[in-house]
Symmetry: C2
Subunit: 242 residues, 2 copies
């Protein structure tokens, strides 16, 4: 079988890698387990052993497995649970998992509100906004890239403040916002674009969870609206219903 046969645009070795990764994600292969031998995997997927080796090579590079010559290939890593609550704070979630939360400013610039952004923020189309592009990590693992928009009128200089505090919570506090909560959240999945893939240290073609959300103050007035892209292979959202 060749790539053309499937007409999927996804190389065979990549399909094998995805299959094994799925097995790791859903617990078929747990951390520390030994994978089947390369010849056996080749039989399972009905591909050549070289194709399997290419798949395992990329999984090893991404830290999912570790090959030991003469012995076998072993599973390395797990996933981070990410609750979606009304009070969602990245630092608290990651900290609870025993990891060190880190934020990093990628870029801050001025922008004008599109119709959609204006509606979310309760402004007029064309209103001045500040756009903040940020990367969030747990220890040294990139978790998500997010683009946030705030009204320039209410949060002047927000970019610099975020750069200094590296935290949206602290940024809002700086402007006198003592508490805030999540409004509605929209979730879908997509393939990471080149820029996000690079920042999240993802291979091209990997899925991201795309989350559009708006944070509001205690009176329900919108503060900031965001589009975040999470590395799906490292994250699992948990929705707790009341």
């Amino acid at each position: 079988m060749t790539m053309q046969d499937s007409a999927s645009g996804v190389a065979l070795w990549r399909q094998v890698a995805d299959g094994i990764e799925r097995g790791i994600a859903n617990g078929t292969y747990a951390a520390g387990d030994k994978l089947p031998g390369e010849t056996e995997i080749a039989e399972i997927y009905r591909v050549n052993r070289h194709t399997v080796r290419r798949a395992l090579a990329t999984l090893a590079e991404r830290g999912f497995v570790r090959a030991e010559r003469g012995s076998g290939t072993y599973v390395e890593a797990p996933r981070l649970a990410y609750p979606l609550r009304s009070r969602t704070r990245f630092s608290e979630i990651v900290g609870a998992g025993g990891q060190e939360p880190r934020g990093q400013l990628i870029d801050a610039s001025e922008d004008v509100a599109t119709k959609e952004l204006a509606r979310e923020l309760g402004l007029k189309t064309g209103a001045a906004l500040i756009r903040i592009e940020a990367l969030r990590l747990a220890d040294r693992t990139p978790i998500c890239v997010s683009t946030s928009w705030l009204a320039a009128a209410r949060f002047p200089d927000a970019g610099r403040v975020f750069g200094a505090t590296r935290s949206m919570t602290k940024l809002l506090a700086h402007y006198g916002v003592r508490d805030y909560r999540r409004g509605t959240t929209r979730i879908t999945a997509a393939i990471a674009d080149a820029a996000d893939a690079a920042r999240l240290d993802l291979a091209l073609g990997r899925p991201v969870l795309v989350v559009d959300s708006t944070d509001v103050d205690i009176d329900g007035k919108p503060l900031v609206t965001k589009r975040s892209r999470f590395a799906a292979e490292r994250i699992e959202f948990v929705v707790e219903n009341g």
Copy 2:
């Protein structure tokens, strides 16, 4: 640039197709809009025009765009919003969108509880279960494939009942369950496996939203636990926080 250069295992034409599809999903190109010409797209992505044509061909086949000779290529379709509430009923959500909800039994069989399934359902590991594999559609568009597990002791013959009623709500009602609601929901994204891709009419390598959920009765006792895979390109989840 070739596929090998990027070492992503994703063909160039596929990356272009994903890029254009992303543009359609996020509103850069709205329904009815004319896409840039093939030569222009080729310049944007720095690929050959033939590569762009291949990308557009697959988008056309999937119904996202329509090419008109001599004139241009035009955008066709949108996305279905899928609310995640405590009372989630597929039929109501789809029906509200003006589309006809349909269910289809793929397979029903007996199974034994793994440790995880047993915990979700409040049973002992190894308990007898009934596994129902089902496909859900809106009009004729496949939306999700789901695997449901129920305790065989409480819901004997559940497979046959689902086959007849084609509805989980009606199945539960048949066993005397008058109302039920969502327990916790876990969401992540992955690449569709071959079987799911076929059933959802997705190209290989396309992302799916994977939702693990358990429905409980009004007393909070677990009834059924499910793993559903939604075609990410057709769905957007909406989380409404209280």
